[in-house]
């Protein structure tokens, strides 16, 4: 299926939730309202003509100028071999969105990573802990306004 056909199906399902969309270019995607993420993700996975059974990546992007944190969900259908992406824009001060780990188990660790490095809170996540950094690490390092630590457990950052 082409990207424009995929987008057409999503529009038929729930046009009201779409903020913006593009079926052209290098990265065809649809930007949706965060509250509708799980519903649209379920649709993308279960609709037989779409069949997105694989979540390849969740990328979190910090955009201080727009005062938002963007999440991009890259999807692939292994049986129909087409790809698509879903984006949500979250409030930068308190980014929260529902977890999709019940749909795609791969999301569990991706969401933990986004939580660890960007500070996005995923609601109803089964095990939302830091995945890379130590539990007592201050802040979320991939935020644009992140300040480096001075020392960690007695080790100087800049000796």
């Amino acid at each position: 299926m082409t990207s424009s056909e995929i987008l057409e199906l999503v529009k038929q399902y729930d046009a009201d939730s779409i903020v913006s969309a593009t079926a052209e270019g290098l990265y065809p995607h649809v930007v949706i309202k965060p509250q509708r993420l799980v519903a649209i993700a379920t649709f993308l996975k279960t609709q037989p003509r779409l069949g997105f059974d694989l979540l390849r990546c969740i990328s979190a992007i910090d955009r201080p100028a727009q005062n938002s944190i963007e999440l991009a969900y890259d999807l692939l259908s292994t049986s129909l071999t087409h790809t698509f992406a879903v984006k949500v824009l979250l409030e930068r001060a308190d980014p929260q969105v529902a977890s999709v780990s019940a749909l795609w188990p791969a999301a569990e660790w991706h969401e933990r990573e986004a939580y660890d490095l960007m500070g996005v809170t995923f609601l109803h996540h089964p095990d939302l802990r830091r995945i890379l950094l130590p539990e007592d690490w201050p802040g979320h390092p991939l935020r644009k306004d992140y300040q480096d630590i001075v020392e960690y457990r007695g080790l100087k950052f800049n000796p």
Binding site: P134, I149, Y152, R153, L155, K156, F157, N158, P159
Partner: protein
Amino acid sequence: MALIEGIFEPGLVVTTVDWVLNWSRKRSIFPMTFGIACCAIEMIATGASRFDIDRFGSGAFRATPRQADLMIVAGTVTFKMAERLRRLWEQMAEPRFVMAMGACAISGGPYHVHGYHVVKGVDQVVPVDVYIPGCPPRPEALLEGLMRLQDKIETRTIAKREAL
């Protein structure tokens, strides 16, 4: 410092025992399996047949600190790893040695400025005997470092040292 070191009066017997001890020690430096980043690939190559670290009696990479004499820190040390590294070093029996292999272990390397999570040099965590520069160092460089460590071991003695 091993238990036996620095307690005997210097003399002919002592120097002979020194020679035997150092001869055997420097030719059986068992390294610990401690590859923590890409430098580990070079360390593995050093262990394989082309470079053959076994020529120096150091081919027995031990999977436990209790059996190891040498910790080759082959890679980037993060703040999370530093604590574990220190604990492993403390579990090694004396005399124990540490090699800082590659730019990351020496100074943080490519992460020196922008690495939010990297310790700027493993010598902040454990005392380092030999620094091997490179990113990553070639196996020849690692073997050179091993030979420098052998030179260092040769200077050890069980005799009392003169007060400075």
